[in-house]
């Protein structure tokens, strides 16, 4: 096996790549070199810029500035097709296979060999057989893709990459939906590819996997390369240190709050996504609890289950000491629970309707007159009050919410729930896509609500938000509550350790310490 050394020439070089979305930088002067025959892991927190970088490499996004050099010559990767022809294959987290077609058809999709204007099936299946063998998949190439497990589908994707002689294979969280066994098999295939001289970019949240597999690790933080770790230096602690790195700025001042009786008690809650892990936790009146974890850890499912959007498999929920049954959002609302959902545009707002209609929607039933007539005067009053209180910037209450900025849209979502004066407020990514100014206002608002005795549970991928806002943090890893950290013991390192599912010893220490 050819162990790559620092002086072997880079296969692909990324130089000073920058990319911004609507003025918000996602990548800042990122440089990276990938050598043939190495597994190069790219890690970083949520939003560090990993996927943006990979999309640039795969031609999905074009960079604002910077250069990509392949074998020493500058290339322009302006579309996924170009990337493909250059030998760059990307395997997305959500696989890109047509599951109504068979394996052979998928491998040759869009570049079917033909003879006399007919698809040359014989050639497809003969070649596909060879590629499947290379990835150790022992099924007929005539098998329909939907008959395969996710793990095997992934191998089909790799076979597809091999079939075009890809020099660089990018894998985005390839093990996120694999079983342990499937993952082991995948690693064997990855190692074999590496030994054949293919460069592999491996993106993962699972640090254990990374230390097992990677020859080199690059860490992204806030859109910049925080550092690289060579093979013999790859340890869990080294990686976490680089991922976290930054000084935690206490960007907003916290007031003092009384934390009172338990308001929301959850017992044995099993969500549909992770039925194996019953969850148990409490949120007190006047308390702000953060729910941390990596993408896919099951945070959203906890919140939507509590709000009755999805029905949990089992579990008891009590509000203020009284057990409640929640089968749909109406019952959750009746119990005094409100949810600011993750997907503002799809779940939070009706974009084609006005601010007033959006804010009023939750209150229509509460304020209805006899016979189901709507109380528009009350709706207007509520909307005006909320617009002032939350300082929603608009041309008027009749403005369509689709024309508002992200921050103001989120304020409208908050307004529609605050009008009902909830006892428990659930927030999923409360400041996603919101500018700094509105962010601070939303934090202030959450804080004020807690002061009024509302129990607040929020899920967030933004470490700074979790650190500055929470009185207590619950950390999830793959559907499991891996720990609980009180305000005094709160640190980014601890959260990351629990969120990446570090060893049990550390977990025990933390819970004991708490």
């Amino acid at each position: 096996m050819a162990i790559p050394t620092a002086d072997s020439p880079p296969l692909l070089e990324v130089r000073e790549i920058s990319k911004s979305f609507f003025g918000v930088p996602a990548l800042r002067n990122v440089s990276l070199s990938l050598r043939a025959g190495e597994v190069h892991a790219v890690i970083g927190e949520n939003g560090a810029g990993k996927s943006t970088l990979m999309k640039v490499l795969a031609g999905v996004l074009s960079p604002d500035s910077g250069q990509i050099r392949l074998d020493g010559t500058p290339v322009s990767v302006d579309s996924p097709q170009t990337a493909f022809h250059l030998g760059i294959a990307m395997i997305h987290q959500e696989l890109n296979l047509c599951d109504n077609l068979d394996i052979g058809a998928n491998i040759y999709l869009g570049r079917e060999p033909t003879s006399y204007w007919q698809i040359d099936d014989a050639r497809i299946y003969r070649n596909a057989c060879r590629h499947l063998e290379a990835v150790g998949l022992e099924v007929s190439p005539r098998t329909r893709v939907d008959q395969l497990t996710i793990g095997k589908q992934q191998l089909v994707e790799i076979a597809k990459a091999i079939s075009v002689d890809a020099k660089l294979v990018i894998m985005d969280e390839p093990t996120s939906s694999l079983s342990q066994q499937e993952a082991t098999k995948l690693f064997a295939v990855i190692r074999r590819l590496r030994d054949q001289g293919v460069a592999i970019v491996y993106i993962s949240h699972r640090l254990a996997e990374v230390s097992e597999l990677a020859d080199r690790v690059s860490v992204l933080r806030d859109g910049e390369v925080a550092g690289s770790i060579e093979h013999d230096q790859i340890t869990h602690d080294n990686m976490v240190q680089l991922m976290v790195g930054r000084n935690i700025s206490q960007s907003y001042a916290r007031g003092h709050r009384e934390i009172a009786q338990p308001m929301l008690s959850v017992n044995g809650l099993r969500t549909e996504l992770h039925p194996a892990h019953p969850l148990e936790f409490e949120v007190h009146a006047g308390e702000i609890v953060g729910l941390a974890g990596l993408v896919g850890a099951g945070r959203t499912e906890v919140l939507t289950s509590l709000f009755g959007v999805e029905s949990p498999i089992s579990g008891n929920i009590s509000i203020d000491g009284h057990q409640v049954m929640i089968a749909n959002p109406r019952e959750a609302i009746a119990a005094g629970i409100a949810l600011v959902p993750e997907d503002r545009k799809q779940q939070g707002l009706i974009l084609e309707e006005s601010i007033r209609h959006n804010v009023g929607l939750t209150g229509l039933k509460r304020h209805r007159r006899i016979g189901g007539f709507a109380n528009y005067a009350r709706e207007l009053e509520d909307t005006n009050k909320m617009s002032n209180e939350l300082r929603i910037k608009s041309s008027g209450n009749g403005q369509l919410t689709k024309h508002l900025s992200g921050g103001n849209q989120q304020k409208v979502v908050l307004a529609k729930w605050l009008a009902m004066q909830p006892r428990v407020l659930l927030l999923d990514e409360p400041t996603r896509g919101v500018d700094i100014g509105a962010k601070q206002e939303i934090y202030r608002l959450i804080e004020q609500l807690a002061q009024r005795g509302v129990a607040i549970l929020f899920a967030s991928s933004e470490m700074e938000e979790v650190l500055s806002l929470s009185d207590r943090v619950l950390v999830m890893h793959e559907g499991q509550l891996t720990g609980e950290i009180g305000r005094d013991a709160l640190s980014e390192e601890r959260i990351m350790q629990l969120a990446t599912g570090s060893d049990l010893v550390q977990k025990l220490e933390l819970t004991v310490a708490h």
Binding site: F307, V309, N328, P329, R330, A332, I333, L339, P341, Q346, Q347, G348, L349, I350, L351, E352, E353, H357, G360, L361, T362, L364, K365, R368, G371, G372, F373, A374, K393, S394, S395, Q399, H403, K416
Partner: protein, 332 residues
């Protein structure tokens, strides 16, 4: 409101052109008949609008008109069942039809197009089989009941008679408008038509509201069937109510309902129906237009209306973008 003005403009244009080209158009008889037909079609179009507002579709309207239209004389004349019981029965049947559509669409998550397409085939087939393709008619009886479709009230001091279906349409339209714009349920319907998921996340019982829309649509189709057969006097299972669902949907869309859901006004739907009826009438009236191309003319006018509306929207949208900086600077 702007949309309604646009469609009113179209209505006036079609009326003026027809009046200029045909001497028969402005006669009392023709106008009274036109109003009657507009009222009858307006009722089923309002039903279609309710479903379209939820971003659904009901293709079974014509077949429900046929089922009810054929059943009413059959029950009254052949079976000798009393008027109140007959009315109760057809109300129940219409209600059940809508309920089944709604439940299949919300609980089994079937597509509205498929469910109501099957309805279109099933109710027509049942009626034809049940009545063995025989025409049913009032045979000169039940003249009092038939007044609701065929009758008219003479306006004192004029020669003009006001068709009774117009009064029924007005009652239905007022009830529908009040429901849609004054009750919380109407707001729920409009909200879920635009974004069902967000409405559900806001605590709206979206399934129940959708079922309600299909029930309203089928009930109005049933009422339509009753009024149509009362107007005409007899019904033939093979072609009674043929294509009525398409007229209803076209009228609703022409009247400002978006098939994407969440949009529509009762007044617009009535104006849309009127345009459809006047167009059909003018094709018959104007000798220069052969009757054979009736569908082509109606199709082209609707297409023209929808294209014009879309272009206007885009124009308004680009203007809104241009003036947006002003809007934000005005805000506090």
């Amino acid at each position: 409101m702007k949309k309604n003005l646009g469609i009113l403009g179209l209505l006036i244009v079609v009326c003026v052109v027809t009046a200029l080209c045909s001497r028969g158009f402005l006669t009392e008889f023709n106008i009274e008949n036109l109003i009657r037909r507009t009222a009858l079609f307006g009722i089923i179009s309002i039903g279609a609008a309710f479903v379209i507002i939820t971003s659904g579709i009901d293709l079974s309207i014509g077949s429900v008109v046929c089922l009810i239209g054929c059943l009413v004389p059959w029950l009254l004349v052949e079976k000798g069942i009393g008027v109140p019981v007959t009315l109760l029965m057809i109300a129940c049947i219409s209600l059940c039809v809508g309920l089944i559509h709604g439940l299949l669409i919300t609980k089994l998550r079937l597509q509205p197009f498929i469910v109501t397409l099957c309805g279109l085939l099933i109710y027509r087939g049942i009626t034809r089989g049940f009545l063995d393709d025989q025409t049913t008619g009032f045979k000169g009886q039940f003249e009092d009941l038939r007044q609701i479709g065929a009758g008219a009230i003479s306006l004192p001091g004029t020669e003009f008679d006001l068709p009774i279906p117009l009064l029924i349409l007005l009652a239905v339209a007022i009830a529908a408008a009040v429901f849609l714009h004054r009750t919380i349920y109407g707001r729920y319907l409009l909200a879920l038509g635009r974004n069902e998921e967000a409405a559900r996340f806001s605590g709206v019982n979206t399934d129940r509201m959708i079922v309600l829309a299909y029930v309203i649509c089928s009930l109005l189709a049933g009422l339509g069937g009753l009024l149509f057969v009362c107007d005409v006097g007899s019904a033939q299972p093979v072609d009674f109510g043929n294509f009525y669902e398409l007229y209803a949907i076209a009228a609703a869309v022409l009247g400002g309902c978006s098939l994407r859901g969440g949009e529509g006004s009762v007044l617009g739907v009535i104006l849309g129906t009127a345009v459809m009826r006047v167009l059909k009438n003018s094709i018959t009236m104007i000798d220069a237009i052969p009757n054979k191309i009736e569908f082509a003319v109606i199709g082209l006018v609707i297409l023209g209306g929808v294209v014009a509306d879309e272009l206007m929207n885009r124009f308004a949208a680009t203007r809104a973008v241009d003036t947006k900086p002003n809007l934000t600077s005005k805000s506090t």
